[in-house]
């Protein structure tokens, strides 16, 4: 009896320490959370100030007067409308292309037997590790030879193919039970119909992961577009945002730059919140896979 009371007491004590710990962890998580959110909040808050508010000392967080016109002013200050269109077009084309080529090849690697298959796959895996820094110069010279410099092809076509995505598709498709396919084959389905009707629907989660990763990467991509897209008409959003802040002015118009940053960042944030499940799962599954 005495023992039982003791046990109860110690359990109660444990519960209390857990509650206390939880509280402590919440406090720490919140502080870190504020640090993470702060730059975004600072960006949005300042996107509504005027130039006087920006250079005011000491700085204040909430704008005195809210200048919504900063957004229209920033939008028209440079070709952000064309930039949006270019970015959307490039992202859509690359996502679509990668999903198609990676899933087709993934199916081929995972399910069909033919001479050389495993050797080709090994080649894919080994070249996956080549850093993009190494490709910049040869690829640029190639683009010049194709006459693609300052055209959208230069940022679309080379990226319609993905060894990494192909690898991911192959690994996912290998886990699909063969029986499903065999049944379809016995019913007289050809390889393409099997791929289209059986494999693709089952691969949806992996396809979604690939699509979201590719979208975010393409939308955010800076270095390669910086190299191949020189003419204003073909520039994508990151390029415009970067050059927007380097335009010489007596006093850097930070309020407009922050407004521009806000409307460039928001689409990606929305894409993330909508597709978070797939994005997180993608990182986790490929992460664990990659870790061996």
């Amino acid at each position: 009896m005495a023992n039982a009371v003791k046990l109860k007491d110690s359990l109660l004590g444990q519960k209390q320490t857990k509650l206390l710990m939880d509280l402590l962890v919440y406090v720490v998580l919140s502080i870190v959370g504020i640090i993470f959110i702060m730059p975004f909040a600072w960006m949005v808050a300042n996107s509504f100030k005027d130039i006087r508010g920006i250079y005011k000392f000491p700085p204040e967080f909430i704008p005195e007067v809210w200048h919504f016109s900063n957004y229209t002013e920033a939008w028209t200050a440079t070709h952000f409308d064309i930039g949006f269109l270019n970015s959307a077009l490039v992202a859509a084309a690359v996502v679509l292309g990668q999903v198609v080529t990676a899933s087709l090849a993934g199916y081929s690697f995972a399910r069909l037997r033919y001479p050389g298959r495993d050797k080709i796959f090994l080649l894919y895996i080994s070249l996956m590790m080549v850093p993009f820094t190494v490709l910049l110069i040869p690829l640029y010279i190639q683009m010049r030879a194709f006459g693609w410099v300052s055209t959208l092809q230069a940022v679309i076509v080379p990226f319609l193919f993905t060894p990494w995505g192909t690898f991911m598709m192959r690994q996912f498709m290998v886990t699909i039970p063969r029986e499903l396919e065999d049944a379809a084959r016995i019913d007289g389905c050809g390889f393409f119909r099997t791929y289209w009707l059986i494999i693709l629907p089952l691969t949806k989660p992996a396809l979604a992961t690939l699509a979201i990763f590719t979208f975010v990467n393409t939308w955010n991509s800076y270095q390669w577009p910086l190299i191949v897209l020189a003419k204003p008409k073909v520039k994508t959003l990151p390029l415009l945002l970067a050059s927007f802040q380097n335009q010489s002015a007596m006093r850097t118009p930070w309020h407009l730059i922050m407004a521009a940053s806000t409307f460039v960042v928001v689409p990606v944030l929305i894409a993330f919140v909508v597709g978070q499940k797939y994005y997180v799962r993608g990182i986790v599954t490929t992460g664990i896979k990659g870790g061996g």
Binding site: F36, I37, L104, F109, D118, M129, I137, F161, P163
Partner: protein
């Protein structure tokens, strides 16, 4: 890995290659062989044109003097001789190492504690996870733009906040000593979400029973961490370390936007130096030679990590497919 790959064609191994090919294109297997190549074709053609060929081409370019205005002149290993005597090459190489080997350990250290905190069974964890991850998906150009302003010595947020505590903040990105730490802080703010997520998944994969067993044996919180959490987390840690090192060594955007490599080349990493040589001075050959250094270093990091992993990653041999 290779054992797994060979799964499909194992029984054909004993036949000669030609015989294998002949059989693949006749009889029952014919349809499958043709379908296999057709499904692979679009991907493989792109792979050859935009990956395999440029890589091989790079090996030629680095042996030339090529400004693009004139045809390339073959110069052998001259670019590498130039490199050895190039003070800025060594400076940028040093910067790349400085950045990589400070940013990665500090980032993973913070990510580890965040992941531990998020692994508790509490409400609202997903909310915090989302917040910590938001900078990760923000485009680096925008992130660097925001931070460039936060770092402004007079009107920036950081020095303003330091001022509350009576601290006279440094000039951050405008100071040779502080520029690199500034880039590192910004990069970690942006990149921690990734490491945190992988480590969190690793923590969630540790079976509850291990902790229970350790508790019954009287293990303290610290001991459970030392003998259960850390060893079980080694595969996830390993993955995070490798990918972060490789990623950090290739960083470009934040340097280009936040500091433009300055002041006085204090934040010019190898990637930026390559970019300047190739696309500002149009020295394609020298740029390609510099890029080969990045390639070799990443290869070495990968190999060293895999070697070390055999020693310290629990279950590494077994998990190696």
């Amino acid at each position: 890995m290779t054992a797994n790959l060979a799964g499909g064609g194992g029984h054909a191994r004993k036949l000669g290659v030609l015989e294998e090919v002949r059989r693949a294109f006749t009889g029952l297997r014919r349809g499958e062989t043709i379908a296999g190549y057709l499904f692979l074709a679009p991907n493989f053609i792109g792979f050859i044109i935009f990956l395999l060929f440029p890589i091989c081409f790079a090996f030629y370019i680095m042996l030339t003097d090529w400004s693009l205005a004139k045809p390339p002149a073959f110069v052998g290993l001259e670019n590498f001789e130039t490199m050895v005597n190039d003070r800025l090459f060594w400076k940028s190489l040093g910067n790349s190492f400085y950045y990589t080997f400070v940013a990665v350990p500090t980032g993973i250290f913070i990510a580890f504690w965040l992941a531990l905190a998020l692994n508790r069974k509490m409400r609202g964890i997903i909310f915090f996870r989302t917040i910590y991850f938001l900078p990760q998906i923000t485009l680096t150009v925008a992130a660097a733009t925001i931070w460039r302003w936060i770092y402004q010595p007079e009107i920036g947020m950081i020095n303003h906040m330091l001022d509350w505590f009576g601290i006279d903040g440094p000039k951050w990105i405008h100071d040779t000593q502080w520029a690199m730490p500034s880039v590192i802080i910004m990069s970690n703010w942006q990149g921690i979400g990734f490491a945190m997520l992988i480590l969190l998944a690793g923590l969630q994969g540790i079976p509850e029973e291990y902790y229970e067993a350790a508790s019954i044996d009287g293990a303290s919180g610290w001991q459970r961490m030392r003998y259960v959490t850390l060893p079980m987390l080694t595969p996830a840690l390993f993955f995070v370390v490798v990918t972060s090192l490789i990623g950090a060594f290739q960083s470009f955007d934040q340097f280009f936007v936040l500091t433009q490599g300055g002041p006085a080349h204090a934040t010019t990493p190898l990637t930026l130096y390559i970019f300047q040589n190739a696309f500002t001075f149009f020295k394609m050959g020298y740029g390609a030679a510099l890029a080969s250094v990045v390639f070799v270093i990443i290869l070495i990091i990968t190999i060293v990590q895999w070697r070390l992993a055999r020693r310290w990653v629990i279950g590494f041999e077994n998990d190696d497919e």
